[in-house]
Assembly symmetry: C2
Homo-oligomer: 219 residues x 2
DNA sequence: TCCTTTCCGTTGTAAAAACAACCGACTTGT
DNA sequence: ACAAGTCGGTTGTTTTTACAACGGAAAGGA
């Protein structure tokens, strides 16, 4: 476990906490470290979860098989990232997805009850970890609300406008770059790539915007 | 402020806390109570927010005007409900929506920093309120992930299947009722009502399911 | 340099959704 | 009992998307 403390130190959850303090806190947080081989399931859809999951090493996929066996990959978890925050409330429903190791991986599990109840012993930074977790969920929440705002538009054009306007506003200038290539943007907005590419060019021809690669300018 | 303590007692945030303890906690949580007349803005898109908002009385709409002035209503806040959890992280982006009073309303604002940092004085239930908030966000998060899972499907049929399967699984029986009428379900899934109604009947004719009003049975 | 891969625009076709409009059943209030 | 409103199904038309397939440009590696 100790060997991963430098990794933990760089995570959102332990931001602002020193390595010695992390080491001292591990038992107090009920930390468990498990390793998985490529292809193994870390969590399964339908299970209950009462731990916050932090990936120390490797790569996980969040995926779902529908009842015809079609698999869709909803997300990826890289080293240092958190998972499970949405499922740890006492009355929470079960996991909505499978989590599978796509590389050999090392995974920390922290008992959420012990994370958010400050312990009686003298963990100086326990409160900070709890707050980090709180803020992490809060920001994830905002990201979900935003994505939902884009995706709930009816047409591809509306989705693009919603996304690009927000990105322009956020970067606060006429020209801005987006962190996606075409395929990734299409996946993010849940539309077909070629249809989206089509729509983008049509909007350009109508004089609504300009673009080159992932650099855009709204007119 | 005191007159709303019975209302607060029934909220998710103060669940498990007695009225006297709530009263004692109000100042310690940095509570402010503001009233709004019907039509007034409570919060505006683009603002920063560092408070958790609890509606004590009235009704608020979460809405957004796009840059052509088209207004869309994304949600409603009823008495006792919480808002703002997605925006209170220190580095969080600004509010993505307007919040408007559609009735005369009374609104509590709680400084989020004071909610999640247990105070030095002897607020016995402060920790419980912080945990309640944490779990509330966590569950809201799960709801968003789930909705996103439905809406990101390409066709109306796929959205319906995703939603109905999950609802069947959740209620754990072949027959189940949904908490929406047709228009509300269409709004929730972000599709056209008549197109959805069409698709539902087509699925029924194909023998995939049966329904009557808001009672369904998957076959 | 040559080969392979990735990225992105383009086209055509088939499928699906949006939209508008209408109807009958049922509820609700007066 | 009547009028008004809500709800859900249906139809037909137009718009939009998905899908498959192709080609050229650019990037990267052997």
């Amino acid at each position: 476990m100790k060997e991963y403390i430098p990794v933990l130190k760089r995570t959102r959850l332990f931001s602002g906490v020193g390595e010695e303090d992390i080491g001292a806190m591990l038992s107090c947080l009920g930390a468990r470290l498990l390793t998985y081989r490529k292809g193994e399931y870390v969590l399964r859809q339908g299970e209950h979860l009462s731990d916050i999951v932090v990936l120390a090493e490797g790569c996980l996929h969040i995926q779902k098989d529908d009842y015809w066996g079609n698999r869709s990959i909803l997300g990826q978890i890289g080293a240092g990232e958190i998972f499970g925050e949405a499922y740890v409330a006492p009355e929470s429903g079960t996991l909505l997805n499978d989590v599978v190791a796509v590389e050999n991986s090392a995974v920390f599990f922290f008992d959420v009850k012990r994370v958010i109840s400050t312990c009686s012993s003298a963990c100086r930074f326990h409160t900070m970890v709890a707050q980090n977790l709180f803020y992490a969920i809060s920001e994830k929440n905002r990201g979900l609300v935003q994505k939902l705002d884009y995706i709930s538009r009816r047409t591809t054009r509306e989705k693009l406008i919603a996304y690009l306007s927000e990105e322009a506003r956020k970067q606060n200038r006429a020209g801005f770059t987006i962190p996606f290539n075409r395929q990734q943007l299409a996946d993010y907005l849940s539309v077909d790539r070629s249809a989206m590419s089509n729509e983008l060019c049509r909007m350009r021809d109508e004089g609504l915007l300009e673009f080159e690669k992932n650099r855009f300018r709204l007119l």
